[in-house]
Symmetry: C2
Subunit: 337 residues, 2 copies
DNA sequence: GCGCGACGTCGTAGATGGTGACCACCCCGT
DNA sequence: ACGGGGTGGTCACCATCTACGACGTCGCGC
């Protein structure tokens, strides 16, 4: 392992001068600088980031703690973070909490002990302790996707309520009346807001909320499948479905396929969140698409700003969704007459 | 920031003793250990991983350098790595090279300067220099998914040739004769092996390889779309398609959908690699599924072994694929008679 | 019973690689 | 000749680990 001292000796200067050349902070005689750079090249010196981090008591790593790597929303989001982070000279460490508060907690402690420069997190629970720990330790944090009450942090959220309202209103508009809802875990703000949007749209249209048409699942494929099965088996007789995230939509669809129910003739479907290759699924799926990449970009920008200005006021960004109407929710063929 | 010295003072012992208690290496009087642990708890001490890493000149991070975060194969693979890594006390840093050799090179240098404990990489090119740099620096490396010639490293690969051969043979078996192939970048071993498998199956069946039925693209959705369009526009008149990865399969399918071609009646399709929710796509897609999670698991196990035994012989794991027959490749309806 | 030796536990101090404040020196200009 | 600006070296520091040494205790033997 070649150190800065080896370079200094080889170039006939002090280690401090090598450091200055490498960091470009102070002025160095061009002739010396030249000698240093050529020595660096000749010896194949790479500076030891760990030692540097220790001295500066801060690394150049960002931790991005997401709740599910296999959910396309998060991978797309991560791409957004990455592009900004790299441009700003940071590397991104992806941590997958798997919707497991304990794993999440471990990652947060790791982020602290590893002195990460900042954290972007989509909390897997509404427990505030962990994120509070980060804040109290002075670690810059941006919360994304899910709201966390009682904390003054930068956040980048999506207008879940409005997105869900539009989706439900669209179904009502298309003539559906018995609209079922498969909601997410009630402790997640995304889930409650989407449920609120669903209720609001019903209310606006003068429809009453029927508890038998509502199920709450876990934002996973399996949960969506089971919820759909339960809706069908319990005789709720829905003529449409609003599913509160992408994976549950897929699960519900799989249940419908298995039971030979036609979409949208037997049941119309609108899903929340982008589904990759939605165009290939038959029928094509109407979705409320989220600007995942943009969520990542904005979160990264907020984090970069927070690092340079730790005491700035908290910024809360709310991004709009977009209803993408496809075949799974087209107008109901009027039965009877 | 509370250091080991604060704990030592609070517990009335030396910092060395605190270190010993924390690491459990040497024997410490139980009474003292008790005082130390309670002081740790009382002061809320968390050890500084950066300083620790400097001292041990090695971190507890694994870099996983993949070529596309948005490809489900890699996310699933990462899950496999994660599960093993966490159990072994390592954290996983995910790096997305985006099939870009320059980005990849940067990540490799970062892995070295950050003193990562090991690297798992799916090389984005056949350039050997970067990985050689890691090896020469004594950094444990496991190469996955893609072969790299001239290097003695642990590898975990999938039997691409055999998988492709089975897929093509299956199409032949189903009565298709003009089987097109959309291959991947010719500098990637996965691509060449899959192409070899395609050719082998043709040869075995006594069919000749028709260059007009072959296209090479970039393993991306767009590339698959364009290649399919080109096959159709150039009058190659394929009656079936073998696409060499998941994203290109999706792209090709989208092209077929757009042109109102029926699958498998007009053209049968077999894709390589798992496609999430293949069941929802109409028709359901026949695929050669790869054991992505298992690739990750085995790679992680090899890496852990390599870290403890740096001089062990290189292990090369070859995992089998599995042909999953679905609707997109069912027997051709015999035309005419 | 006392002394010596051995073993075990704990503290001291140095090492890890890099940074940057501070200081010294040199040269030039006035 | 003196002062100032610019350039480069010295050294303390970051937090932790660990080799080595010292000290205390216990046991055994005389």
């Amino acid at each position: 392992m070649v150190t800065i001292y080896d370079v200094a000796r080889h170039a006939g200067v002090s280690a401090a001068t090598v450091s200055r050349v490498l960091n470009g902070h102070a002025k160095v005689d061009p002739a010396l600088a030249e000698r240093v750079t050529s020595s660096v090249a000749e010896l194949g010196y790479r500076r030891n980031a760990v030692a540097r981090n220790l001295r500066k008591s801060r690394t150049s790593l960002w931790a991005v703690i997401i709740s599910d790597v296999e959910n396309p929303f998060f991978t797309s989001m991560v791409r957004g973070v990455e592009d900004i982070a790299l441009a700003a000279g940071y590397s991104v460490v992806l941590c997958n909490s798997d919707e497991n508060p304990e794993k999440e907690s471990n990652y947060i402690v790791a982020a602290l002990t590893e002195q990460m420069a900042g954290v972007i997190i989509s909390p897997s629970s509404n427990r505030v302790d962990d994120v509070k720990l980060l804040l109290d330790s002075g670690c810059p944090v941006v919360v994304i996707d899910r709201e966390l009450h009682g904390l003054r942090t930068d956040t980048v959220l999506v207008d879940n309520e409005r997105g869900a309202e539009q989706a439900t209103a669209h179904l009502i508009d298309q003539g559906y009346r018995r609209i079922a809802c498969i909601g997410g875990p009630r402790w997640l703000s995304t889930a409650t807001h989407r449920y609120d949007g669903y209720r609001r749209a019903l209310g606006t249209a003068g429809l009453s909320l029927e508890p038998s048409l509502v199920r709450f699942a876990d934002f996973r494929e399996r949960g969506g499948y089971d919820a759909m099965a339960s809706l069908l088996d319990d005789g709720a007789e829905p003529d449409a479905l609003f599913a509160a995230n992408n994976l549950m939509t897929v699960g519900a669809m799989e249940c419908l396929v298995q039971r030979d129910l036609a979409v949208p003739t037997d049941i119309a479907v609108v899903g929340f969140d982008t589904i990759p290759w939605a165009d290939l699924i038959r029928p094509t799926l109407t979705t409320v698409s989220q600007p995942a990449y943009e969520v990542g970009r904005q979160a990264a920008q907020l984090l970069a700003r927070r690092i340079t200005k730790p005491d700035a006021d908290a910024t809360n960004v709310l991004l709009p969704t977009e209803l993408q109407v496809r075949a799974s929710s087209t107008r109901r063929i009027s039965t009877g007459e």
